[in-house]
């Protein structure tokens, strides 16, 4: 099987869709000659030309809105919003337009739009380029939310997102772009709403997203040395959510930790915790633990940033609390 980085996997899905389908095109800031601020779209201008690899002004409302209009008019646009922090600039178009056209029209219109964005902390970009905002979108009926953590998943899920007839906000994590892994020879679309169990375990379930999947896997290894068997579940798509896999895992392990990079308060973990207590209450041997960033904007100074965002150690500590081994 070939190996791809997370970055190459994203590019591979887009390029293959554009080769197969004239309706697919990409637009965003700095995505043409520069190849994107994270290098994701490198080489795509040469292959597809400026009509389908559209460099845009710094104009998030218009880019996202134009994506919506093009989608309604029959295209399958992929819009890159350079940093997820800048999604704030396009919120009206996303929440009021993209999410609601199909509904408000009584099902007449479709919005097959994919918004790719990336970000996250861990490299001292400062407070306006580092916030994880995925939970905001899960709160909006009408937007699918995808957050893959591996090259294989990012490729397969992006493919499916592009071909979904509804708007998808697709989160990539900045620190994962160089992660390299084997991927299948041919692109296989992956169904949205299916979790991946990265590691099986008996004692504690860790439901983790994005970068925290990898932190959770490190924590699981360390926990193993302490005799704690950890199962790591990555929902991969936050909406739709694979409740069955999460509940199935918790019923087996009787303990649950949720872990994400975004702040704990009102984070996606709160939803998982509510789900687990409701559907697996009698199975729980410990309170559901939540791991996430401390409630502060992401600071600049590396020592402060390190302090605010969660790491494997935080996951491990939470795992130990659930088994009474603090």
């Amino acid at each position: 099987m070939p190996e791809l980085t997370y970055r190459e996997a994203v590019r591979d899905a887009m390029s293959e869709a554009m080769r197969r389908d004239d309706d697919v095109f990409i637009m965003g800031e700095d995505i043409a000659e520069m190849g994107g601020s994270m290098g994701v779209t490198q080489g795509m201008l040469d292959e597809f030309g400026p009509d389908r690899v559209r460099n845009t002004p710094i104009s998030e409302m218009a880019i996202v809105g134009a994506g919506i209009g093009a989608a309604v008019a029959g295209m399958r646009p992929i819009v890159e919003v350079m940093y997820q922090d800048f999604m704030t600039l396009a919120m009206e178009q996303l929440v009021q337009q993209a999410a609601k056209h199909r509904y408000m029209s009584g099902g007449q219109t479709k919005v097959p739009l994919t918004i790719r964005t990336q970000g996250g902390a861990g490299w001292s970009p400062g407070a306006q380029h580092a916030q994880q905002v995925e939970a905001w979108f899960v709160h909006v009926p009408g937007i699918k939310v995808v957050f893959p953590s591996t090259p294989e998943d990012v490729r397969g899920l992006l493919w499916t997102s592009i071909y979904d007839d509804n708007p998808v906000v697709f989160f990539e994590h900045r620190t994962l772009y160089n992660l390299k892994n084997e991927v299948p020879e041919a692109i296989e679309g992956m169904e949205l709403g299916k979790a991946r169990i990265h590691r099986e375990g008996e004692d504690v379930t860790v439901v983790a997203t994005g970068r925290l999947v990898h932190e959770a896997l490190s924590a699981a290894k360390e926990a193993e040395e302490d005799g704690i068997s950890v199962e790591v579940v990555d929902p991969r798509t936050l909406l739709p959510l694979d409740e069955e896999s999460i509940i199935g895992s918790v019923k087996k392990t009787n303990r649950c930790v949720v872990a994400h990079e975004a702040v704990v308060r009102m984070g996606f973990g709160a939803e998982i915790a509510a789900l687990v207590q409701h559907q697996a209450f009698d199975y729980l041997d410990a309170p559901v633990e939540r791991v996430g960033a401390k409630f502060a904007p992401i600071p600049f100074a590396p020592v402060m940033e390190e302090y605010v965002i969660p790491h494997a150690g935080d996951v491990l500590a939470a795992v130990k609390r659930t088994v009474g081994k603090e």
Binding site: M61, A66, G69, M75, Q97, Y103, S105, P141, K144
Partner: protein
Amino acid sequence: MATLEEKGQTVSAERLKDFLREMLLIRRFEEKVEERFRAGELPGFLHVAIGQEAVAVGVCRALEEGDVIASTHRAHGHTIAKGTHPNEVMAELYGKVEGCSHGYGGSMHLYDFERGNLGANAVVGGGLPGIVGAGLAFKMRGEPRVAVAFFGDGATNIGTFHEALNLAQLWTVPAIFVCEHNRYAESTPSTQHLPIEDMTKRAEAFGMVSMTVDGQDVEAVFDTAKKALRHARDGKGPVFIVADCVRLSGHYVGDPQVYRPKEEINELRKNRDPIELLRTRLELSDEEFGEMDGEATRIAEDSVEFAKKGTDPKPEDALKNVYA
């Protein structure tokens, strides 16, 4: 024999009569809406386009098959002018399944995808970027279609307006931006929300061709829209149209308009009613006008009957069309 219109001079009298019928239909429809709202039959809140009929009709009659529009919170006129039957519009206002948005949208969210109405928007300026995108899709596929956004002077102060016009011009998108300049952003007069008198300057700042037209003169609107559409369809880029018009009603049905001098409304009703202006111009006999008016009134009344007989959605239908 070539008609005057074909010679590029003016619109034929027959065609103008046709425009008048449409404007009358919108007027009588809107009056019916006010009446039924006051009778307590219509939920939500409503904005009627009384006084602005000539813009809706002049622009929509200039469109060709395949052209699309995005409307505003004041959407009934645009929607009817774009070809949706008044029955379906009224049924939507009554929240019925037979409505043009099947009860999911309401007055401010009228859609008719089949007839090229991509949707009315209750967010001021919210529909403009989408129109740029629709136009972009037409351009990328090489289709000779144009996308048209309606909005008011109030919308020219919001970010989407500036971002949308900038992008449309940058990419020479086949789009027309029709600003219905009725001089009120809800209750706020343009003297309090526009720092400039001539709004075409806003579009010209992006290098966009702009045109100003008397929005009470349906023929002028039609001619201007035709010119703008040709420009856009020929691949020369978008056009900004300022249609100077008057809102003869309040912002919403029931608006006491405390912010507006009574004399102003009376004066506008007397001198700037687009229907009266056209009627005078066409020198219609009372009989002919009465006949046209009677027909419009009948269609408006029928739409209420149709809507009242419509089907209520099942409460649980609220969860249909939800995919995430």
